[in-house]
């Protein structure tokens, strides 16, 4: 696992102003793995992903992608080096059409990473194919969630950070989302998935990290987590 790890984070500390939010977060994601970062709201999941992506002003610690050091890089360089980011709030460009949204995410193909084209993405998200010229602002929440993932894939990432893709979606759409992510995994994509919906995460993930109060409290395989009632109750309150 360590040898083949694509994304590696060690000693990650993050601050909002004077508030210390993350404490020595360390995690690894191996090639082709889907790893869940589980925790309550405010536990530090989104902050962890944003810190890795270089979206916070004050971050310390090492982050690397396929051995390349990401620390000190601005977020666009991190994206260019092959790390994709799918934000929790989706952040679709509402004034741009579906095709234009995809165009913004486009980057040159990358060796050792699955290569995506709009046509290939439309096969994965058939809904989107029917609305190529529709402005992002006139799509439903589920369709926007698909577009935000497709837009990130246009950058042909080696790994993606997926922030709570099930948040705010109808249960049936959540199930559809789960199938899609399973499909991405089959394509060989490496995923770090932040979730508080344990039922969603357990279907997809190989391993899990449990975060609470800005610290990683527990790491295990998904099967171990599902077997461990004590940990689930302590940190996930489900």
């Amino acid at each position: 696992m360590t040898d083949a790890s694509v994304l590696k984070v060690e000693g990650l500390n993050a601050f909002y102003g004077r508030a210390h939010i993350l404490f020595d977060v360390a995690l690894e994601v191996g090639k082709g793995e889907v790893v869940a970062l589980l925790g309550r709201n405010g536990a530090g999941k989104s902050t962890t992903l944003k810190s890795i992506m270089g979206l916070l002003a004050e971050v310390r610690g090492t982050r690397s992608l396929d051995g390349q050091n990401l620390a000190r890089l601005p977020s666009f360089r991190i994206a260019q080096s092959g790390l994709g980011y799918v934000p929790e709030e989706r952040r679709i460009f509402t004034g741009l059409t579906v095709m234009e949204n995809l165009e913004v995410g486009r980057q040159p193909p990358r060796q050792g990473a699955p290569e995506w084209t709009p046509e290939k993405l439309f096969a994965l998200f058939p809904n989107l194919a029917e609305m190529r010229d529709r402005p992002g602002g006139r799509m439903s929440g589920g369709e926007q969630q698909m577009l935000t993932i497709a837009r990130t894939l246009m950058g042909n990432p080696r790994a993606i950070l997926l922030d709570e893709p099930s948040e705010g979606l109808a249960p049936v759409i959540v199930e559809q989302m789960a199938r899609t992510i399973a499909e991405l995994k089959r394509e060989g994509l490496t995923v770090l998935l932040s979730e508080q919906n344990l039922y969603f995460a357990k279907e997809l993930s190989d391993r899990a990290y449990v975060i609470e109060g800005g610290r990683i409290r527990y790491q295990c395989t998904m099967a171990e987590l599902m077997a461990d009632d004590a940990v689930r109750h302590a940190y996930l309150t489900i």
Partner: protein, 260 residues
């Protein structure tokens, strides 16, 4: 049963797209009424037409028999409707207790007073409400610096200040952790039952919906798919197909068992 809120044939379109299409429902006194449905089903639009944030294209909204269709939010508030928002809206640069004091100042129509110090007005009343929602210990802190769960409680306190007969809560637990969600909704249910307040709320969390709602309205693409008790809605095959799915039914089952 007396109806607190009656909604008849409500309709709203945005540039040709019909967001809410002839929706009708009734909220009975002292009951919790939930609107659920997929994103873009028209829940928020419906909600905002009741709360006065959006004027409906057609239809009627009646509060205790009085027509309030198209009134601005501030008038609806004066008729006894409290409101919380999906993203908590508070006065961030005031202290927590001042936030609640503002609601009292407005309720007693003293907004335009130029001489008395606002921070001394209705302080005890405001503290009592904060006590009830469990954030009295934070009273002197700047509201914007609170944890999100506490801000939601402050918002509830603001909404309760003028002793409303109806509470409108748009996704009251959005952005909260599971534990906090359950606590906040349990608290809300407790308060509204002890004071006989009715609640109209939208929600995505099936655990919350099926644990607390007395009646459910399911919307899809602006139309009513089903109305009824949690039991009836959960068993409705159409609702299962377009909205709940397997996981949703399971969550509903869990919540209803916990309730019983």
């Amino acid at each position: 049963m007396t109806a607190v809120l009656e909604v008849d044939d409500l309709r709203k379109a945005f540039g040709g797209v019909v967001a809410v299409d002839r929706v009708s429902f009734t909220v009975e006194a002292g009951k919790l009424f939930a609107i659920i449905g997929p994103n873009g089903a028209g829940k928020s639009t419906c909600f905002n037409m009741v709360g006065g944030q959006l004027p409906p294209d057609a239809g009627r909204v009646r509060l205790g028999g009085e027509d309030i269709t198209g009134l601005p939010p501030r008038r609806i508030w004066r008729l006894g409707v409290g409101r919380t928002f999906q993203v908590a809206a508070t006065f961030t640069a005031m202290t927590v207790v001042e936030n609640v004091q503002m609601a009292f100042i407005s309720h007693r129509r003293r907004l335009r007073a130029l001489i008395p110090a606002a921070r001394r007005l209705y302080r005890d009343e405001a503290m009592a409400v904060l006590e009830r929602v469990g954030v009295a210990d934070q009273a002197e802190r700047q509201c914007g610096l609170l944890a999100y769960g506490d801000i939601k409680r402050v918002e509830l306190a603001i909404a309760l200040a003028h002793e409303p007969r109806l509470l409108l809560m748009d996704e009251p637990t959005a952005g909260m952790a599971a534990r906090e969600r359950i606590d906040l909704m349990a608290l809300t249910a407790e308060i509204v039952r002890e004071r006989g307040i009715s609640v109209l709320f939208t929600e995505h969390d099936m655990d919350v919906v099926f644990a607390h709602a007395d009646t459910l309205l399911v919307l899809d693409r602006g139309r009513t798919v089903a109305t009824g008790t949690p039991q009836e809605v959960r068993e409705n095959p159409e609702v299962q197909r377009i909205y709940l799915g397997g996981a949703g039914v399971a969550a509903a089952q869990r919540a209803m068992e916990a309730r019983a």
